[in-house]
Symmetry: C2
Amino acid sequence: MRDFDESNITDAVIDSLAQTKDARLKTIMTSLVRHLHDFVRDVEITFDEWNHAIDFLTRTGQMCSDKRQEFILLSDTLGVSMLVDAINHRMPEGATETTVLGPFFVASRPDEPLGADISHGAEGEPLLVEGSVSSPDGVPLEGATVDVWQADDDGYYDVQRPELQSSLLRARFRTDKQGRFSFKSIMPAFYPIPDDGPVGEMLGALGRHPNRPAHIHFMIAAEGYETLITHIFNAESPYLDSDAVFGVKNSLIATFAKNAGNGSGRVLKYRFGLKSLSQERQ
Amino acid sequence: MRDFDESNITDAVIDSLAQTKDARLKTIMTSLVRHLHDFVRDVEITFDEWNHAIDFLTRTGQMCSDKRQEFILLSDTLGVSMLVDAINHRMPEGATETTVLGPFFVASRPDEPLGADISHGAEGEPLLVEGSVSSPDGVPLEGATVDVWQADDDGYYDVQRPELQSSLLRARFRTDKQGRFSFKSIMPAFYPIPDDGPVGEMLGALGRHPNRPAHIHFMIAAEGYETLITHIFNAESPYLDSDAVFGVKNSLIATFAKNAGNGSGRVLKYRFGLKSLSQERQ
């Protein structure tokens, strides 16, 4: 294999994959090479532009740490995360829609009893969340694990505040016999995704704002069901129509109602439906 | 913009580029989003696969240092570097063909007088290089700068040997009135690209070897001419037909001839032609 030019190098690279043992990997790499080369050919990338891309990707990797995942942000802001989500979650009737995981989920989070206050006194408008988890046909799911995490009143997650010694606005619950869970919190604020890195530079160059509408993250798991990763968005938030990561779905927008009892405080009620794993195989 | 699915998210992301001020950036990003999304859709990437890709790219960035550029290796091994080269170097008759820069060029290198020995006594078969630089129509170019760098007898570049205090097998010369340059060195060995990182993992999974045929790098610059970045390959080397970075061109393969005078030692003679910048505008 010698003397490659723009008309024959793509086939040469694909030929070099002939010895790939994993058939799925071979399929993926063949498609990747074809699309990547087509992109370079279509816009006739210059050396300066390719060097810029190499530098951008390098800095994106080097921005990553155990508290920051810049490549997930890049994937989110280019709509790839939501595309992967759409392809892998063609949801049946009765199952809650999904959205991006985002970069702020962390594996270490406290288990809390139902009704716990996960704000631990943080400032903000009080919020009571009352949820339920069921199968698509309405059967309550007892003992489902419900992970919740959210931004605070300033739009920051706990992992963005290095001064914090422990989790804040982040916990795991288990549903009761009726499939219910509840917790006390504060209203989440809308916020910009971290924009002090390469992805922020990119958004700036593209004339895009970095903001996401206010939401609470949920990850709900129960045996025999597909784990649900989603948000519930506040219907009153700005940016519902220009989410920086393309994550908003109408079915996930809810009213955080004013508490009828007293002037301050809100209540969110939401019924989550999980997709049965046996449905997936149908 | 809400409720995106796999059929409409690509247009939504492209719509979000509407405020991009730089028209070229808008063109590039529009094409990138379309091809990237088409790739994800074509192979129906799963969550696990996408997470693997995010992790791979993150580790690729984190492998980079001032002596290692893993993203260039990735670009090289997927044939993208040679494709960018082909698109940007449609060479006229009489101009030497180009190939990849590679990850081992460094900005700090010693200026040496013509005839200098850049091996500084390193072990290997002695080599004399005698080159000349001219315009495509054969006019000698005086005062052109000629950067050379190469692997040693074990297949390593100086920057891969942390114990070295100064440059080795790397220098910059200036051509004389007849456009000539010469230097003493040793024969370069074929070598594997650095394969202890993510790119090495990838090559392993694809059943590909990491080797490059033996070569010497040249970067030649003269006012009024396009800077030439190329290699000269040893016609006797293995891997000329399976270069891990797809960089071999027949016109760049040369005989490193046995020195007629004595039993040991080789001579490489090569005439380089630079492309005139005024040709480029024709």
